[in-house]
Structures are given as C-alpha cells and as structure tokens.
Amino acid sequence: MSITYLEAIREAQAKLLRDDKRVFIYGQDVGGSFGGAFKATKGLAKEFPGRVLNTPISEDAMVGTAIGAALEGMRPIVEMQFADFSSIALNQILNNAGTHYWRTNVPIPITVRLPSGGTKGSGPFHSQSMESLYAHYPGLIVMTPATVEDAYTMLIDAVAIDDPVIYCEHKYLYYHLKADSLPNDRMPVGKARIARTGRDLTIVSYSAMLHESLSAAEEIAKEGFEIEVVDLRTVKPLDTAAVLASVARTGRLLAVGESFPWGGVTAEVIARVATEGFHLLDAAPARVNAKDTPIPYHPNLWSTHRPSSRVIAAKARKILRE
C-alpha cells in the first residue's frame, strides 16, 4: 500500500474527527460529497455528519467562527481553499487569534490549513507561500511539513496545541509524495530534522523546497561535495539550535524557501546564524527564494520564478568555492 501526502492529510483529519468530539472542519466545499477543492476531506462529511461543514465564501467569517468555537472548547480546523485567500482572513488570524492569549490569558486552539505553494499554471492568486508572513506576527505557530509522515503527525499535533496553528500544506507535494504507510511515531513539534547528512555545506529548507534542495545535494554529491540538508518542519518556532549545530559541522549555509525574498524565513535563518554562530561560518551565507514579483502563470516563467534544484545547486557551488 502507498499513501500520498494529500491522503495523509485526509487520514489525519479522519483520525482527529474519530478520536476527538471537539474537532470539526469548516471551509469552502469541504462538505457534502465533494470533499474540498483538493479532496482533502473526501468522504469525511458522510462519515462524520454535522462536523464537516461547507461555508460561504467568507474567509474572515470562517476564521472568526472558528475562534468563537475554540473559545467554547472546540478544536476547529479551517480549510482555506488556497493559502492565497487567507489574506482575506488576515485580520482574524493575526489580530484576533494571534493576540488573544497575550491580551486575555485565554488561548485560541484553531488550526488553519493553507494549501500552499506553486504548481504549474496556477498563477499569482493560487500559488502563494505565506509562511513568512504568518511567522512574522506574534502568537502563531507555523508548520510546513515536507514529508507524508510529517503531513500526518503534524496535523494531529496542530489540533492538540492550545494556540493558533497555521498549517502550510504544499499542493505540489499532494500527489508527488508517497510513503509506504502512515507513521506510528512522531518527531516533536518545533524540532528540525536532518534530511541528509553532509560535511561541506548546510542547506536549510522546508516544505516543497526540501525536495528541490535534496535533489541539488544529490547533484553536487557527484562533484565530491556532501551537503547536509536540514528540514525545519516548523518555521515558527524555528529550531535555531539544530541549524547552528549543522553549520558547526559544515561551516557553510544556504537557506532555501519558496516565499518571496524580502524578509521571511530564509532571511531569519541567516540572521540567526550570523548573530549567534558567526564564528562557525567559513563563507558568507546565502539564500534562494522565489523572485520578487507576483507568481507567473506560464510554466516557462513559473519554473524560473520558483527556486529549482538547478538554481539551488548553482548557489551551493558558489558557496562551496569560497
């Protein structure tokens, strides 16, 4: 049997609905026989009547409703149809959910699922990676699973956490990524994973970019360099200790992310290594991000806009030469 990243997300939600009466799913087209734009909730409405609910096209009210339900003890999962549309709900997520515990001492245990990242032909409004934006604001936990196993266990963890969690699931990985089975064990939330060991350069990445980074590392291995690849898993909290430990082994750092370049996760990784581990670096750190333009529609443009293993490998070679 094999299970995809998308099926893992569905299975995690089925388990959550089965095990915890407080859980319900709220989003556009998630209910009925349709099961969501990507089928991440396929069959769940039938299996769990009244707990997988279609909403109007009202992202602000979807999250507001989830906040209110969470205040009354529920554990809502909000599915945004695309991460891009969560911009409509920014106010509820950042200003309401994100400030609530700090202001009132009462946390808001909601999980907002964001189908994130680029796929061919999706264009500027169905391709965005918003983890950097959410990580910037206080009061939120931001998850970016890169494997089928993490997609499953981290969604279960997200719902168990008492604070608001932004769960960025990558659409490109939905069908491309497969595992033999669902995991029984899980890594702790907030801890990075060494996805590939190496001694010459550390690439820090997450989500779909982990796989581009791993491909780049395989390519470079043919040239005699061993790259260590760190999968952040959650970008907030950011496992600085794991990143520093890796850079201590390799002396070189490349941060790779799919979100826009200004500020963001890659800038944060480099800032932390530069301030806390400057002495570990044998070369200037670097980063690869998407370009600083809206995300293009045509595949020829999109494949250049998005960081690819080719661009990551080129940047890695440059750092290795220094």
């Binding site: 999250v63 202001r103 604070d163 907030g190």
Partner: protein, 315 residues
C-alpha cells in the same frame, strides 16, 4: 445608565488631567441602548460589546473595578496593562474582548453559539453591538451572512449615532434605511429610538426573546446622536447645529430622569441618593485600582503563546 455616565464623566476628567494613558471612549447618549443589550443576558449567553457599551457590560456583570483597572493599566486587572480601555473582556464569562477592527466580533459570536448548540446547551443567545460605521465593513457583512446561514440565536444591535468618527451618514452608506439590510441577510429587523429607555428595553428585549425562541438572527437598528467625541481627544466640532436639534439628539439619561419624575417613580431625594451612590461606587473602583501595581517591562512575561515549549527563542 447613571452609573455608566458617572463613571465615564470621571474617566473623561481623569483623561483631561493627564491621568489616563491612551484613548478614552465613552457611550454618552448611548447608555439606554447599551443597558438594554446587557440586561436581558443570562449566564451562559455571549456578549460581544463595542466601544460605547459600558452600560451593557456593567448590566451583564462586569465589575466596575475591572474597567478602572484596565484604564489605569493595573497588573491585577483582566488585561494586566497589555491592552487598554475598551478592548477588555472576560471570555470565560461570556464577555468577549473586542479588537479594534470593526465587525470582527460578529462571526466570533456565531462560532461560540455553534459550539454551545453542538454541546447540547439550551436557551442561550449571543448579542453583539455594532455601529452604523462598523456596519460598512466586510467583516460585518461576512459575519451577519454566516450567522443567518448557521441559523444561530444572535442579536445584532446596531447603533446609528450619525457619525463614523467625523464622517456623517451620507458618506457612510446610501441605502434608505439600515434596517432594510435585515431582510437581505435573512435576519428579522427592527428600528428603535435610542433616546427612549422604555423602547430600548421593549425592542431589544423582544429581539432577545425571539432569538432564544429559535427565530432567525435579529437586527435592531437604534438611532441616537453621539453626545461626545469619538474619543475624549475629539472635540466633535464637526457635529452640526442642525443635527443637534434632531429628536434623536436628546440625551437618553435626561429623558429617563424626566420620565421618572413625570411618572413619580422616584422623588428628588431618591434621585439624589442614586447619584451619590453612583459617585461613591465610581470612587471606590478607581481608588481600589489606583492602589494596585502597574506592569514592569523588565519583569513582564514576554510570551504570546500558551504552549511554553514552542516559544520561538530569539537572542
């Protein structure tokens, strides 16, 4: 109403004396509407007040000392100096802590009501306040629509005080009457004269009853003139002489006092005693809050999440 007016007059005078940091927002002219919002609520109900709802908050059980604590930044108060003035709340008691972004609380109340229904609770309602200014936001639109879709027992009390900060109604909306929107959302809608306490109690009380009885969500649109600035920093010089002569510009508190005298419901001595009691209660609230410690940045627990082992540590 009298307690709120007395409290807020004291608050405004402290603001002018430089004793309050940040803004002061009062409900002068809106006390009759607001008290009617709070007074019919019971334990188990949800109240999401807005910035001019001291009367409703008090009627639903908010201790006056908590208001004083919030304005003075007391570390003992519900907001512990982390948020001030009207953003306070006690979510575990059904008093939600509003954010400044108008309309955001409508859908939050909807969610709380859905959860209560899901748990099998009975006879609960939610009530949220909005103004004619806040009615023009996308969040209010989304919230009211989703309330009707989810068929929750919600009452939305919208006070048209005729100005969104300084902007008059003709630059706020172009429909003939805001209550017409009730039909568009699938609400039941009513209008009332917010200067008339009896009408406020009757119409809002009826809306609360209808919501409890399982009717569709209720919209009440009340008309008044805001008798103060948007906040105490605002001299409200933009309020025209003409509008001050409108019937909706009458002070609800004065009108209520006149009603009491006319019907001989209380004599002058009793009214005077009520005023003295209110003043004493206000003094007690402020003097208690003033004795309490204020926060200290060096000792503050700078942590925005409750899950301590997931705090992002930045050097």
């Amino acid at each position: 109403m009298l307690l709120t007016r007395t409290f807020e007059e004291k608050l405004a005078s402290m603001y002018r004396g430089g004793r309050i940091t940040g803004g002061v927002y009062v409900g002068k002219g809106q006390e009759a509407i607001s008290v009617a919002c709070g007074i019919f609520l019971q334990k188990g109900d949800i109240f999401a007040p807005l910035i001019r709802d001291q009367a409703g908050r008090s009627a639903f059980g908010e201790p006056l000392v908590d208001v004083a604590r919030t304005y003075l930044g007391s570390r003992t108060g519900p907001m512990r100096g982390r948020d001030g003035n009207i953003h306070r709340g006690s979510p575990r008691d059904g008093q939600l802590a509003m954010i400044s972004h108008l309309g955001a609380m409508v859908s939050v109340v909807v969610g709380s009501l859905m959860a209560k229904r899901g748990r099998g609770e009975k006879n609960f309602i939610g009530l949220t306040a909005i103004g004619e200014g806040g009615m023009q936001t996308g969040a209010t639109h989304e919230g009211m629509n989703i309330a009707a879709v989810e068929h929750v027992p919600l009452v939305v009390v919208a006070t048209n005080n005729h100005y969104a900060y300084s902007t008059p109604n003709d630059r706020e909306f172009a429909c003939a009457n805001l209550v017409d929107r009730a039909r568009g959302y699938g609400f039941e809608g009513y209008e009332l004269d917010g200067t008339d306490l009896a009408q406020c109690l009757d119409v809002i009380g009826t809306a609360v009853k209808r919501a409890r009885a399982g009717r569709p969500p209720q919209l009440v649109v009340a008309s008044i003139l805001r008798l103060a600035g948007h906040g105490e920093h605002d001299d409200f010089s933009y309020v025209t002489d003409d509008i001050r002569k409108e019937p909706f510009a009458i002070d609800c508190l004065q009108r209520t006092e006149a009603f009491i005298k006319e019907r001989e419901l209380a004599d002058a001595a009793t009214l005077q005693r009520w005023r003295e009691e209110a003043a004493e209660e206000v003094e007690n609230a402020f003097s208690a809050a003033q004795k309490e410690p204020v926060p200290n940045g060096e000792e503050e627990d700078w942590c925005a999440i409750s899950t301590r082992d997931l705090v992002d540590e930045i050097e």
